[in-house]
Amino acid sequence: MREVAIIGIGQTKVGEHWEKDLRHLGLEALQAAMRDAELERVDALYVGNMLSGELTGQEHLGALVADFAGLRGVEAVKVEAACGSGAAALRLGYVAVAGGLADVVLVVGVEKMTDATGPEATAALAMAADADHEVAHGLTFVAINALLMRRYMYEYGYKKEDFAPFTINAHANGMNNPYAMFHGKVTPEAYAKARMIADPINLLDSSPVADGAAAVVLAPADWARRSGKPVVRIAASAVATDAVALHDRRDPLVLEGAALSAWRAYQQAEIGPEEVDLFELHDAFSIMAALSLEAAGFARRGEGVRLALDGEIILQGRIPIATMGGLKARGHPVGATGVYQVVEVVQQLRGEAGANQVPNARVGMAQNIGGSGATVITHVLVREK
Protein backbone atom coordinates (compact mmCIF):
# COMPACT_ATOMS: atom_id res chain seq x y z
CA MET A 1 0.00 0.00 0.00
CA ARG A 2 1.23 3.50 -0.80
CA GLU A 3 1.12 6.43 1.59
CA VAL A 4 -1.34 9.12 0.47
CA ALA A 5 -1.11 12.90 0.87
CA ILE A 6 -3.60 15.73 0.43
CA ILE A 7 -1.93 18.12 -2.01
CA GLY A 8 -4.78 20.54 -2.67
CA ILE A 9 -7.85 21.94 -0.91
CA GLY A 10 -10.75 24.15 -2.01
CA GLN A 11 -14.12 25.24 -0.68
CA THR A 12 -17.02 27.56 -1.37
CA LYS A 13 -18.64 29.66 1.30
CA VAL A 14 -21.44 27.71 2.94
CA GLY A 15 -24.80 29.43 2.71
CA GLU A 16 -27.87 30.03 0.61
CA HIS A 17 -26.47 30.23 -2.91
CA TRP A 18 -29.60 31.27 -4.79
CA GLU A 19 -27.56 32.15 -7.89
CA LYS A 20 -25.59 28.91 -8.12
CA ASP A 21 -26.66 25.36 -8.90
CA LEU A 22 -25.11 22.07 -7.88
CA ARG A 23 -22.63 21.77 -10.70
CA HIS A 24 -21.31 25.33 -10.35
CA LEU A 25 -20.82 24.93 -6.61
CA GLY A 26 -18.90 21.72 -7.25
CA LEU A 27 -16.88 23.37 -9.98
CA GLU A 28 -15.89 26.31 -7.78
CA ALA A 29 -14.52 24.05 -5.02
CA LEU A 30 -12.89 21.67 -7.45
CA GLN A 31 -11.09 24.42 -9.36
CA ALA A 32 -9.85 25.97 -6.12
CA ALA A 33 -8.42 22.60 -5.05
CA MET A 34 -6.76 22.07 -8.44
CA ARG A 35 -5.18 25.54 -8.30
CA ASP A 36 -3.96 24.83 -4.79
CA ALA A 37 -2.44 21.54 -5.96
CA GLU A 38 -1.02 23.21 -9.09
CA LEU A 39 -2.44 20.43 -11.24
CA GLU A 40 -4.60 20.30 -14.36
CA ARG A 41 -5.30 16.62 -14.88
CA VAL A 42 -6.56 13.90 -12.56
CA ASP A 43 -7.01 10.13 -12.90
CA ALA A 44 -10.36 9.87 -11.12
CA LEU A 45 -13.11 11.97 -9.56
CA TYR A 46 -15.27 10.92 -6.62
CA VAL A 47 -18.31 13.08 -5.85
CA GLY A 48 -19.80 12.89 -2.36
CA ASN A 49 -23.48 13.85 -2.32
CA MET A 50 -26.61 12.72 -0.52
CA LEU A 51 -29.69 14.52 -1.84
CA SER A 52 -29.19 15.80 -5.37
CA GLY A 53 -31.86 13.51 -6.80
CA GLU A 54 -34.43 14.23 -4.12
CA LEU A 55 -33.91 18.00 -3.84
CA THR A 56 -32.82 19.09 -7.32
CA GLY A 57 -33.98 16.25 -9.59
CA GLN A 58 -30.40 15.59 -10.65
CA GLU A 59 -28.56 12.30 -10.20
CA HIS A 60 -25.54 10.95 -12.09
CA LEU A 61 -23.23 13.52 -10.52
CA GLY A 62 -19.98 11.72 -11.31
CA ALA A 63 -20.27 12.26 -15.03
CA LEU A 64 -22.04 15.61 -14.68
CA VAL A 65 -19.41 17.25 -12.48
CA ALA A 66 -16.59 15.71 -14.54
CA ASP A 67 -18.11 17.10 -17.73
CA PHE A 68 -18.64 20.62 -16.40
CA ALA A 69 -15.18 20.65 -14.83
CA GLY A 70 -13.55 20.01 -18.19
CA LEU A 71 -12.61 16.48 -17.17
CA ARG A 72 -14.79 14.66 -19.72
CA GLY A 73 -13.56 11.09 -20.11
CA VAL A 74 -12.18 10.77 -16.58
CA GLU A 75 -13.30 7.94 -14.27
CA ALA A 76 -16.02 9.49 -12.08
CA VAL A 77 -18.75 8.24 -9.74
CA LYS A 78 -21.04 9.64 -7.06
CA VAL A 79 -20.75 8.19 -3.55
CA GLU A 80 -23.69 8.20 -1.12
CA ALA A 81 -23.67 7.38 2.60
CA ALA A 82 -26.27 9.84 3.92
CA CYS A 83 -24.62 12.74 5.81
CA GLY A 84 -21.37 10.75 5.61
CA SER A 85 -21.25 10.94 1.82
CA GLY A 86 -18.38 13.43 1.69
CA ALA A 87 -15.94 11.42 3.79
CA ALA A 88 -17.12 8.21 2.08
CA ALA A 89 -16.04 9.73 -1.25
CA LEU A 90 -12.68 10.62 0.30
CA ARG A 91 -12.35 7.06 1.59
CA LEU A 92 -12.78 5.68 -1.95
CA GLY A 93 -10.29 8.20 -3.31
CA TYR A 94 -7.83 7.14 -0.62
CA VAL A 95 -8.32 3.46 -1.50
CA ALA A 96 -7.65 4.20 -5.18
CA VAL A 97 -4.38 6.07 -4.54
CA ALA A 98 -3.17 3.82 -1.71
CA GLY A 99 -3.87 0.75 -3.83
CA GLY A 100 -1.93 2.14 -6.77
CA LEU A 101 -4.95 2.18 -9.09
CA ALA A 102 -4.76 5.95 -9.55
CA ASP A 103 -2.13 8.58 -8.88
CA VAL A 104 -4.06 11.83 -8.68
CA VAL A 105 -7.65 11.71 -7.40
CA LEU A 106 -10.03 14.59 -6.97
CA VAL A 107 -12.68 14.30 -4.26
CA VAL A 108 -15.50 16.82 -4.14
CA GLY A 109 -18.40 16.93 -1.73
CA VAL A 110 -21.34 19.00 -2.91
CA GLU A 111 -24.90 19.67 -1.75
CA LYS A 112 -27.63 22.01 -2.99
CA MET A 113 -30.40 22.15 -0.42
CA THR A 114 -32.07 25.53 -0.84
CA ASP A 115 -33.93 24.71 -4.05
CA ALA A 116 -36.42 22.85 -1.85
CA THR A 117 -38.86 24.03 0.84
CA GLY A 118 -38.20 23.42 4.53
CA PRO A 119 -40.62 20.47 4.83
CA GLU A 120 -39.18 18.94 1.63
CA ALA A 121 -35.64 19.21 2.97
CA THR A 122 -36.75 17.80 6.33
CA ALA A 123 -38.38 14.82 4.60
CA ALA A 124 -35.34 14.29 2.39
CA LEU A 125 -32.89 14.33 5.30
CA ALA A 126 -35.01 11.72 7.06
CA MET A 127 -34.14 9.29 4.28
CA ALA A 128 -30.95 8.60 6.23
CA ALA A 129 -33.15 6.82 8.78
CA ASP A 130 -35.22 3.62 8.46
CA ALA A 131 -38.08 4.48 6.08
CA ASP A 132 -40.49 1.76 7.21
CA HIS A 133 -39.81 1.79 10.94
CA GLU A 134 -38.80 5.35 11.83
CA VAL A 135 -39.78 7.81 9.12
CA ALA A 136 -43.22 6.26 8.53
CA HIS A 137 -44.05 7.23 12.11
CA GLY A 138 -43.35 10.91 11.46
CA LEU A 139 -39.83 10.93 12.86
CA THR A 140 -37.64 13.73 11.58
CA PHE A 141 -33.88 13.81 11.84
CA VAL A 142 -34.15 16.42 14.54
CA ALA A 143 -36.58 14.20 16.46
CA ILE A 144 -34.18 11.27 16.32
CA ASN A 145 -31.50 13.42 17.92
CA ALA A 146 -34.04 14.77 20.39
CA LEU A 147 -34.80 11.22 21.54
CA LEU A 148 -31.08 10.74 22.19
CA MET A 149 -30.68 14.08 23.95
CA ARG A 150 -33.63 13.56 26.28
CA ARG A 151 -32.45 10.10 27.29
CA TYR A 152 -28.91 11.43 27.80
CA MET A 153 -30.19 14.18 30.10
CA TYR A 154 -32.30 11.61 31.97
CA GLU A 155 -29.51 9.07 32.49
CA TYR A 156 -26.72 11.49 33.41
CA GLY A 157 -28.69 14.29 35.07
CA TYR A 158 -27.73 17.17 32.78
CA LYS A 159 -29.87 20.26 32.26
CA LYS A 160 -30.74 21.67 28.87
CA GLU A 161 -28.44 24.68 29.29
CA ASP A 162 -25.47 22.36 29.94
CA PHE A 163 -25.33 21.77 26.17
CA ALA A 164 -24.87 25.48 25.39
CA PRO A 165 -21.01 25.40 25.30
CA PHE A 166 -21.08 23.30 22.11
CA THR A 167 -23.09 25.99 20.30
CA ILE A 168 -21.16 28.91 21.82
CA ASN A 169 -17.80 27.37 20.85
CA ALA A 170 -18.88 26.56 17.30
CA HIS A 171 -20.23 30.06 16.67
CA ALA A 172 -17.20 31.75 18.27
CA ASN A 173 -14.94 29.81 15.89
CA GLY A 174 -17.18 30.41 12.89
CA MET A 175 -16.73 34.18 13.38
CA ASN A 176 -13.20 33.94 11.96
CA ASN A 177 -13.91 31.54 9.09
CA PRO A 178 -14.74 33.45 5.88
CA TYR A 179 -16.28 30.26 4.44
CA ALA A 180 -18.68 29.79 7.38
CA MET A 181 -22.41 30.37 6.98
CA PHE A 182 -22.85 32.21 10.30
CA HIS A 183 -20.72 35.01 11.70
CA GLY A 184 -22.56 35.83 14.89
CA LYS A 185 -21.70 35.14 18.51
CA VAL A 186 -24.17 33.10 20.54
CA THR A 187 -24.67 33.95 24.21
CA PRO A 188 -26.00 31.60 26.89
CA GLU A 189 -29.12 33.82 27.02
CA ALA A 190 -29.72 33.46 23.28
CA TYR A 191 -29.29 29.70 23.56
CA ALA A 192 -31.81 29.51 26.41
CA LYS A 193 -34.38 31.51 24.40
CA ALA A 194 -33.97 29.76 21.03
CA ARG A 195 -37.09 28.42 19.33
CA MET A 196 -37.92 24.75 19.99
CA ILE A 197 -37.67 22.44 16.94
CA ALA A 198 -38.21 19.02 18.50
CA ASP A 199 -38.20 19.14 22.25
CA PRO A 200 -35.52 19.30 23.84
CA ILE A 201 -33.62 20.34 20.68
CA ASN A 202 -33.84 24.02 19.85
CA LEU A 203 -32.75 26.00 16.82
CA LEU A 204 -29.28 26.63 18.24
CA ASP A 205 -28.67 22.94 18.92
CA SER A 206 -29.16 22.28 15.22
CA SER A 207 -26.95 22.69 12.19
CA PRO A 208 -28.49 24.68 9.32
CA VAL A 209 -29.71 23.51 5.92
CA ALA A 210 -27.24 24.99 3.43
CA ASP A 211 -25.57 24.85 0.03
CA GLY A 212 -21.85 24.30 -0.36
CA ALA A 213 -19.01 22.35 -1.89
CA ALA A 214 -15.51 21.40 -0.77
CA ALA A 215 -12.76 19.49 -2.54
CA VAL A 216 -9.40 17.84 -1.93
CA VAL A 217 -6.74 16.49 -4.29
CA LEU A 218 -4.99 13.26 -3.32
CA ALA A 219 -1.63 11.98 -4.56
CA PRO A 220 1.05 9.52 -3.41
CA ALA A 221 2.90 10.98 -0.41
CA ASP A 222 6.22 10.46 -2.20
CA TRP A 223 5.12 12.89 -4.90
CA ALA A 224 4.12 15.42 -2.28
CA ARG A 225 7.49 15.12 -0.51
CA ARG A 226 9.32 15.88 -3.76
CA SER A 227 7.28 19.09 -4.21
CA GLY A 228 9.08 20.81 -1.33
CA LYS A 229 5.76 22.06 0.14
CA PRO A 230 4.54 21.04 3.63
CA VAL A 231 3.17 17.50 3.42
CA VAL A 232 -0.17 16.54 4.98
CA ARG A 233 -0.45 12.76 4.93
CA ILE A 234 -3.58 10.65 5.48
CA ALA A 235 -2.42 8.47 8.38
CA ALA A 236 -5.75 6.67 8.75
CA SER A 237 -8.95 6.17 6.81
CA ALA A 238 -11.56 4.00 8.50
CA VAL A 239 -15.23 3.24 7.96
CA ALA A 240 -17.54 1.41 10.35
CA THR A 241 -21.28 0.79 10.45
CA ASP A 242 -24.03 0.29 13.01
CA ALA A 243 -27.78 -0.36 12.84
CA VAL A 244 -29.56 2.35 10.80
CA ALA A 245 -32.55 2.59 13.17
CA LEU A 246 -31.94 4.00 16.63
CA HIS A 247 -34.24 1.39 18.17
CA ASP A 248 -32.09 -1.41 16.74
CA ARG A 249 -28.92 -0.29 18.55
CA ARG A 250 -27.73 -2.26 21.56
CA ASP A 251 -27.54 0.96 23.59
CA PRO A 252 -28.70 4.11 21.79
CA LEU A 253 -26.48 6.30 23.99
CA VAL A 254 -23.33 4.56 22.75
CA LEU A 255 -22.32 5.29 19.16
CA GLU A 256 -20.74 1.90 18.55
CA GLY A 257 -20.09 2.66 14.88
CA ALA A 258 -18.27 5.87 15.82
CA ALA A 259 -16.19 4.06 18.44
CA LEU A 260 -15.28 1.28 16.01
CA SER A 261 -14.40 3.78 13.29
CA ALA A 262 -12.26 5.89 15.64
CA TRP A 263 -10.40 2.94 17.12
CA ARG A 264 -9.69 1.50 13.68
CA ALA A 265 -8.28 4.88 12.74
CA TYR A 266 -6.12 5.04 15.89
CA GLN A 267 -4.73 1.59 15.06
CA GLN A 268 -3.89 2.56 11.49
CA ALA A 269 -2.25 5.80 12.56
CA GLU A 270 -0.57 4.08 15.53
CA ILE A 271 -1.73 6.81 17.90
CA GLY A 272 -4.19 7.21 20.75
CA PRO A 273 -6.71 9.99 21.42
CA GLU A 274 -4.18 11.83 23.61
CA GLU A 275 -2.04 12.54 20.52
CA VAL A 276 -4.82 14.23 18.56
CA ASP A 277 -4.36 18.03 18.46
CA LEU A 278 -7.81 18.88 17.08
CA PHE A 279 -11.00 16.97 16.27
CA GLU A 280 -13.46 18.03 13.59
CA LEU A 281 -16.45 16.02 14.75
CA HIS A 282 -19.98 15.65 13.39
CA ASP A 283 -21.82 18.23 15.51
CA ALA A 284 -25.02 18.16 13.45
CA PHE A 285 -26.72 18.49 16.86
CA SER A 286 -25.20 19.26 20.27
CA ILE A 287 -25.96 15.74 21.48
CA MET A 288 -24.01 14.27 18.54
CA ALA A 289 -20.95 16.29 19.58
CA ALA A 290 -21.17 14.88 23.11
CA LEU A 291 -21.66 11.29 21.95
CA SER A 292 -18.84 11.62 19.38
CA LEU A 293 -16.38 12.83 22.04
CA GLU A 294 -17.26 9.81 24.14
CA ALA A 295 -17.09 7.32 21.26
CA ALA A 296 -13.66 8.58 20.14
CA GLY A 297 -12.22 8.23 23.64
CA PHE A 298 -11.96 11.91 24.65
CA ALA A 299 -14.51 11.53 27.44
CA ARG A 300 -15.94 8.66 29.41
CA ARG A 301 -19.55 7.62 29.00
CA GLY A 302 -21.86 10.44 30.07
CA GLU A 303 -19.00 12.95 30.34
CA GLY A 304 -18.95 14.44 26.83
CA VAL A 305 -21.06 17.37 28.03
CA ARG A 306 -18.87 17.71 31.11
CA LEU A 307 -15.81 18.10 28.82
CA ALA A 308 -17.54 21.03 27.10
CA LEU A 309 -18.64 22.59 30.42
CA ASP A 310 -15.03 22.38 31.61
CA GLY A 311 -13.88 24.46 28.63
CA GLU A 312 -11.80 21.65 27.09
CA ILE A 313 -13.32 21.87 23.58
CA ILE A 314 -12.31 25.46 22.78
CA LEU A 315 -9.24 26.36 20.70
CA GLN A 316 -7.06 26.55 23.83
CA GLY A 317 -8.60 23.45 25.44
CA ARG A 318 -7.43 19.87 25.68
CA ILE A 319 -9.25 18.80 22.51
CA PRO A 320 -10.40 21.69 20.28
CA ILE A 321 -13.50 20.81 18.22
CA ALA A 322 -15.37 22.64 15.45
CA THR A 323 -12.28 24.83 15.06
CA MET A 324 -13.64 26.58 11.96
CA GLY A 325 -17.27 26.62 13.13
CA GLY A 326 -18.24 22.98 12.82
CA LEU A 327 -21.50 21.85 11.29
CA LYS A 328 -23.41 24.37 13.40
CA ALA A 329 -21.68 27.61 12.36
CA ARG A 330 -19.77 26.71 9.19
CA GLY A 331 -22.99 24.98 8.11
CA HIS A 332 -24.01 21.48 7.11
CA PRO A 333 -24.48 21.00 3.36
CA VAL A 334 -24.89 17.30 4.13
CA GLY A 335 -23.00 15.48 1.38
CA ALA A 336 -20.26 18.12 1.36
CA THR A 337 -19.70 18.25 5.12
CA GLY A 338 -17.21 15.38 5.35
CA VAL A 339 -14.95 17.08 2.82
CA TYR A 340 -15.26 20.48 4.56
CA GLN A 341 -14.10 18.84 7.80
CA VAL A 342 -10.99 17.46 6.11
CA VAL A 343 -10.25 20.73 4.30
CA GLU A 344 -10.35 22.49 7.69
CA VAL A 345 -8.03 19.95 9.29
CA VAL A 346 -5.58 20.54 6.41
CA GLN A 347 -5.82 24.32 7.02
CA GLN A 348 -4.96 23.73 10.68
CA LEU A 349 -2.05 21.39 9.92
CA ARG A 350 -0.60 23.76 7.31
CA GLY A 351 -0.85 26.63 9.77
CA GLU A 352 -3.38 28.45 7.56
CA ALA A 353 -6.25 28.70 10.06
CA GLY A 354 -5.69 32.38 10.84
CA ALA A 355 -7.17 33.59 14.13
CA ASN A 356 -8.43 30.05 14.81
CA GLN A 357 -5.03 28.40 14.49
CA VAL A 358 -4.45 25.60 17.01
CA PRO A 359 -0.80 26.16 18.04
CA ASN A 360 1.64 23.57 16.70
CA ALA A 361 -1.14 21.37 15.31
CA ARG A 362 0.47 18.22 13.91
CA VAL A 363 -2.23 15.53 14.17
CA GLY A 364 -5.84 16.27 13.22
CA MET A 365 -8.84 13.97 13.14
CA ALA A 366 -12.10 14.34 11.20
CA GLN A 367 -15.15 12.17 11.80
CA ASN A 368 -18.16 12.28 9.51
CA ILE A 369 -21.37 10.50 10.53
CA GLY A 370 -24.12 9.21 8.27
CA GLY A 371 -27.58 9.09 9.84
CA SER A 372 -27.73 8.94 13.62
CA GLY A 373 -24.50 6.90 13.74
CA ALA A 374 -24.96 4.14 11.15
CA THR A 375 -22.04 5.00 8.85
CA VAL A 376 -19.02 6.59 10.46
CA ILE A 377 -15.89 7.58 8.57
CA THR A 378 -12.79 8.73 10.43
CA HIS A 379 -9.67 10.23 8.89
CA VAL A 380 -6.48 11.07 10.73
CA LEU A 381 -4.17 13.56 9.03
CA VAL A 382 -0.58 14.16 10.03
CA ARG A 383 1.72 17.03 9.07
CA GLU A 384 5.20 15.86 8.22
CA LYS A 385 8.15 18.06 9.14
Partner: protein, 132 residues
Protein backbone atom coordinates in the same frame (compact mmCIF):
# COMPACT_ATOMS: atom_id res chain seq x y z
CA UNK B 1 -47.20 7.83 -0.55
CA UNK B 2 -47.19 5.90 -3.82
CA UNK B 3 -48.32 2.36 -4.50
CA UNK B 4 -50.20 0.86 -1.54
CA UNK B 5 -48.53 -2.57 -1.77
CA UNK B 6 -45.98 -1.46 0.81
CA UNK B 7 -48.62 -0.98 3.48
CA UNK B 8 -50.03 -4.37 2.62
CA UNK B 9 -46.62 -6.01 2.81
CA UNK B 10 -46.10 -4.62 6.32
CA UNK B 11 -49.62 -5.50 7.55
CA UNK B 12 -48.64 -8.15 10.09
CA UNK B 13 -46.10 -6.00 11.88
CA UNK B 14 -48.10 -2.77 11.53
CA UNK B 15 -51.50 -4.14 12.62
CA UNK B 16 -50.62 -6.92 15.06
CA UNK B 17 -46.99 -6.40 16.12
CA UNK B 18 -45.92 -9.69 14.56
CA UNK B 19 -42.17 -10.03 14.81
CA UNK B 20 -39.99 -13.10 14.91
CA UNK B 21 -38.29 -15.31 17.45
CA UNK B 22 -34.85 -16.82 17.03
CA UNK B 23 -35.12 -20.61 17.31
CA UNK B 24 -31.46 -20.80 18.30
CA UNK B 25 -31.05 -18.22 21.09
CA UNK B 26 -34.76 -17.48 21.73
CA UNK B 27 -34.34 -13.73 21.23
CA UNK B 28 -37.63 -12.02 20.29
CA UNK B 29 -37.13 -9.75 17.26
CA UNK B 30 -39.02 -6.61 16.21
CA UNK B 31 -39.22 -5.29 13.57
CA UNK B 32 -38.84 -8.63 11.77
CA UNK B 33 -35.55 -8.97 9.91
CA UNK B 34 -35.20 -12.72 9.26
CA UNK B 35 -31.70 -12.82 10.78
CA UNK B 36 -31.21 -12.76 14.55
CA UNK B 37 -29.34 -9.57 15.56
CA UNK B 38 -28.06 -11.34 18.69
CA UNK B 39 -26.61 -14.57 17.28
CA UNK B 40 -26.92 -14.07 13.49
CA UNK B 41 -28.85 -17.33 13.03
CA UNK B 42 -31.73 -17.36 10.52
CA UNK B 43 -34.92 -16.35 12.37
CA UNK B 44 -38.21 -16.55 10.52
CA UNK B 45 -40.58 -18.03 13.10
CA UNK B 46 -43.42 -15.53 13.67
CA UNK B 47 -43.84 -14.18 17.20
CA UNK B 48 -46.68 -11.95 18.34
CA UNK B 49 -45.69 -9.26 20.82
CA UNK B 50 -47.99 -8.33 23.71
CA UNK B 51 -48.00 -4.64 22.79
CA UNK B 52 -47.02 -3.61 26.31
CA UNK B 53 -43.91 -1.60 26.98
CA UNK B 54 -42.56 1.60 28.44
CA UNK B 55 -41.27 4.88 27.11
CA UNK B 56 -37.45 4.89 26.74
CA UNK B 57 -37.37 8.43 25.33
CA UNK B 58 -39.71 10.85 23.56
CA UNK B 59 -39.88 14.13 21.68
CA UNK B 60 -42.63 16.42 20.46
CA UNK B 61 -42.29 17.43 16.81
CA UNK B 62 -43.16 21.02 15.86
CA UNK B 63 -41.49 21.09 12.44
CA UNK B 64 -42.78 18.07 10.50
CA UNK B 65 -41.54 16.52 7.29
CA UNK B 66 -43.68 16.89 4.16
CA UNK B 67 -46.79 14.73 4.56
CA UNK B 68 -47.12 15.18 8.33
CA UNK B 69 -48.08 18.87 8.48
CA UNK B 70 -51.66 18.29 9.62
CA UNK B 71 -50.63 16.18 12.62
CA UNK B 72 -48.39 18.78 14.30
CA UNK B 73 -47.56 18.86 17.15
CA UNK B 74 -47.20 15.13 17.69
CA UNK B 75 -45.09 13.11 20.10
CA UNK B 76 -42.78 10.34 18.94
CA UNK B 77 -41.16 7.84 21.25
CA UNK B 78 -38.76 4.98 21.55
CA UNK B 79 -40.77 2.26 23.29
CA UNK B 80 -39.05 -0.65 25.03
CA UNK B 81 -41.39 -3.63 24.61
CA UNK B 82 -41.73 -5.89 27.66
CA UNK B 83 -40.25 -8.76 25.61
CA UNK B 84 -37.05 -6.74 25.11
CA UNK B 85 -36.87 -5.13 21.66
CA UNK B 86 -37.31 -1.40 21.16
CA UNK B 87 -39.37 0.30 18.46
CA UNK B 88 -40.20 3.79 17.25
CA UNK B 89 -43.83 4.97 17.30
CA UNK B 90 -46.07 7.94 17.95
CA UNK B 91 -47.78 8.34 21.29
CA UNK B 92 -51.50 9.00 21.18
CA UNK B 93 -54.40 9.76 23.53
CA UNK B 94 -52.05 11.64 25.84
CA UNK B 95 -51.12 15.25 26.52
CA UNK B 96 -47.44 15.81 25.54
CA UNK B 97 -46.85 17.40 28.94
CA UNK B 98 -47.83 14.17 30.72
CA UNK B 99 -45.36 11.93 28.91
CA UNK B 100 -42.32 10.81 30.90
CA UNK B 101 -39.50 8.32 30.56
CA UNK B 102 -40.58 4.99 32.03
CA UNK B 103 -44.30 5.63 31.39
CA UNK B 104 -46.13 2.30 30.81
CA UNK B 105 -47.74 2.25 27.37
CA UNK B 106 -49.70 -0.16 25.19
CA UNK B 107 -50.14 -0.59 21.46
CA UNK B 108 -53.24 0.63 19.64
CA UNK B 109 -54.06 0.74 15.93
CA UNK B 110 -54.39 4.22 14.52
CA UNK B 111 -54.24 6.13 11.27
CA UNK B 112 -50.57 6.82 10.47
CA UNK B 113 -50.79 8.90 7.30
CA UNK B 114 -53.20 9.68 4.50
CA UNK B 115 -52.42 10.24 0.85
CA UNK B 116 -54.50 13.33 0.14
CA UNK B 117 -58.31 13.29 0.35
CA UNK B 118 -58.82 10.34 -1.97
CA UNK B 119 -55.69 8.26 -1.46
CA UNK B 120 -54.98 5.25 0.67
CA UNK B 121 -55.09 5.62 4.45
CA UNK B 122 -52.19 3.85 6.13
CA UNK B 123 -52.89 2.31 9.53
CA UNK B 124 -50.39 1.04 12.03
CA UNK B 125 -49.28 0.93 15.64
CA UNK B 126 -49.21 3.86 18.01
CA UNK B 127 -48.90 3.68 21.78
CA UNK B 128 -51.08 5.18 24.51
CA UNK B 129 -50.79 5.23 28.31
CA UNK B 130 -51.49 1.70 29.53
CA UNK B 131 -55.14 1.11 30.50
CA UNK B 132 -55.19 -2.66 30.86
Amino acid sequence: MGIPSKNWRLRNQRYRLVGEICEKCRAPIFPPRDVCPECEAPAQTPYVFSGRGEVYSYSTVYHPPAGFEKYVPYTVALVRLEEGPMLTAQLTDVDPGEVHIGMPVEMVTRQMQTDGDEGVIAYGYKFRPRMR
